[in-house]
């Protein structure tokens, strides 16, 4: 079911009238919510003791000591705020996210392929590492990385000053380990989604396992994995804001610095949120576009939930489809069977040779 319009009939005159009433009611609800927020940050909400006070124009006027006063917003018109705080913060956020993305993809490739290894002594440790880093909070990893000098001191007796961990290193390490583990599952699912006939054909012409992996499986898997990878990068970029907690001067940290200096928490929060939303929405759009392109070309898009028994614990973004259109464009792909294409192709390849028997293998 793709279009929401199937859920209700085309509204007739009565339904249209009812919808108008609902619209007005919800408008009133939104308006009162917004008014409460406005008055609250205007520091005039306390002056309202009875509903009659709301007609008093004095409480609606912009309070110079409230958050909406023009001089609270002035710092964001001043170029020096942007050059001293916002842009350096944005640079730090993007630097951390970029380094961590590259390292996480490498980590994910190594451990995702490791989990597919034929040797148990590679497969099991790789699986344990992935499950461990996926199962514990990112913030704990960041705290632990920050505490590594203490560990060095306690375990090896090194003087704490000899070994320093910068905030950037801690953020990048945490983001790499966590998102790398999630990506490992994405890669595993993507490689598993390549039709089995591909591996069999490669082996039958005498390719080694490594050759099969790097020249046959991974190139085919990459396209189907792209939407999930990009969705995970959105999670990574958002999580880089955790650097705030360990005083890494990233975007959010610098906005709170502006907010403390200028006493403008709310304007700072709004501007900061807009910047994050614009960046992440564009990345999400990219993921949707990639998913739709895959659907157009008749390729499945890998879901990380495909292979493992336990569902993938991402921030939620990668596990959910990315949009109306994405879900609508691939109606032949029910969520519980991420690989309809595989079976279809297997069936076609095996026609006349093995019949049904090989499909179940």
């Amino acid at each position: 079911m793709s279009a929401q319009a199937v859920l209700f009939d085309v509204p007739g005159p009565k339904a249209r009238a009812r919808n108008r009433i609902y619209s007005v009611l919800s408008l009133l609800l939104i308006a009162s919510g917004l008014a409460a927020i406005y008055l609250g940050f205007n520091r005039t909400l306390v002056m309202v003791s009875s509903p009659g006070d709301l007609t008093n124009t004095a409480i609606w006027a912009v309070n110079p000591s409230g958050q909406w006063a023009a001089d609270r917003w002035a710092p964001f018109i001043d170029p020096s705020t942007w050059t001293n705080y916002v842009l350096p913060g944005l640079m730090n956020t993007l630097t951390a996210a970029l380094i961590a993305s590259v390292l996480a993809v490498i980590f994910g490739l190594v451990f995702g392929i490791g989990r597919l290894s034929d040797h148990w002594w590679i497969r099991i440790p790789a699986g344990a590492v992935v499950e461990f880093f996926r199962g514990i909070p990112l913030l704990m990893l960041i705290f632990f990385t920050m505490a590594i000098p203490i560990v060095m001191n306690q375990v090896f007796g090194l003087p704490p000053a000899q070994f320093q961990v910068t905030a950037l290193a801690a953020v990048v390490t945490g983001l790499t380990l966590y998102n790398g583990s999630v990506l490992a599952e994405v890669f595993r699912a993507g490689i598993n989604a390549v039709p089995k006939g591909q591996t069999e054909a490669a082996q039958s012409i005498g390719m080694t396992k490594t050759q099969t992996m790097w020249t046959i499986l991974i190139p085919q898997a990459v396209t189907s994995m792209m939407p999930a990878i990009v969705a995970q990068l959105v999670v990574l970029l958002k999580d880089s804001a955790l650097g705030y907690i360990i005083a890494f001067p990233e975007l959010l940290r610098n906005f709170t610095l502006v907010a403390t200096r200028e006493n403008n928490v709310i304007p700072a929060a709004i501007v900061c949120a807009i910047i994050y939303i614009v960046i992440n929405l564009s990345l999400s759009r990219l993921a949707i576009w990639l998913e739709r392109r895959n659907a157009r070309r008749g390729k499945p898009s890998a879901k990380a939930t495909a292979a493992g028994g336990a569902p993938v614990a991402v921030n939620g973004a990668a596990a959910t489809p990315t949009g109306d259109e994405a879900a609508g464009a691939a109606p032949s792909e029910p969520r519980n069977e991420p690989l309809p294409d595989t079976e279809e192709r297997d069936g076609r390849d095996d026609d006349g040779t093995d019949g049904d028997g090989s499909q179940k293998s």
């Binding site: 704990m140 928490v265 929060a269 969520r335």
Partner: protein, 224 residues
């Protein structure tokens, strides 16, 4: 390890806040997520737009920012207080922030579940004369919920781990990761066993949740 075990009451106290944050936020985010989804597919265009703007806006903001807004904005700058003691005041603000954030992911999962329901189901319901609310309540949501058990489990696991962000400045809930950081900084127990101990604590919370939802998803799956 002994030094860590002798502080086990602090560890248990930290995890008790983690579990409380998770349970309350899971409940509120589920309720809000269902409401957001119902709004998202409703016949009233205004409600659809409202739900879309909310979900896309919050989903693309970092959780740290959402919780900071609750802590520094609503709690400190606006001066709203939800409980008499500071510990419970920040706890409830953290629950509000986590619920506001997580409900977007619940809503997105549910909407994906609604998209898997065959059109015939809804058409049959409409041809029987069911209204939009009846249709949603009796036909669509029950079936959608069964298909999204797995994704909702992922959202819950993410929520368990996200409760650690409630230790940010302006809130500072005394949950597990904050206790761990305090134990690191106060030097009352060696770092490595402390980290391993807290990590095991989180794995005890997350791994069985994952396997339980994986099992439940298979059990209630709708065969189509």
């Amino acid at each position: 390890m002994e030094a860590f075990l002798s502080n086990i009451d602090r560890v248990v106290d930290g995890f008790s806040w983690t579990v409380r944050l998770t349970l309350f936020s899971a409940f509120f985010s589920f309720v809000l997520g269902v409401v957001l989804t119902a709004m998202r597919v409703s016949p009233v265009p205004l409600l659809r737009t409202l739900s879309t703007v909310y979900v896309e806006g919050i989903r693309n903001s970092p959780l740290t920012l959402v919780l900071l807004f609750c802590g520094l904005g609503l709690n400190s700058a606006m001066g709203l207080s939800l409980a008499d003691s500071v510990a419970w005041d920040v706890f409830w603000w953290a629950v509000i922030g986590l619920s506001a954030y997580t409900s977007c992911f619940v809503s997105e999962s549910l909407r994906a579940g609604i998209n898997t329901i065959p059109v015939g189901q809804v058409e049959a319901a409409r041809s029987l004369g069911l209204t939009f609310t009846q249709n949603l309540r009796l036909i669509v949501i029950p079936q959608a919920l069964r298909t999204v058990v797995g994704p909702l489990g992922s959202v819950l696991i993410a929520l368990i781990k996200n409760t650690t962000v409630a230790s940010v400045a302006g809130l500072g809930v005394q949950e597990a990761s904050r206790q761990m950081k305090l134990m690191f900084d106060q030097g009352i127990a060696p770092v490595l066993p402390t980290f391993v101990g807290f990590a095991i604590g989180f794995l005890i919370l997350t791994l069985p949740t994952g396997y339980f939802f994986g099992w439940l998803a298979k059990r209630v799956a709708v065969v189509r």
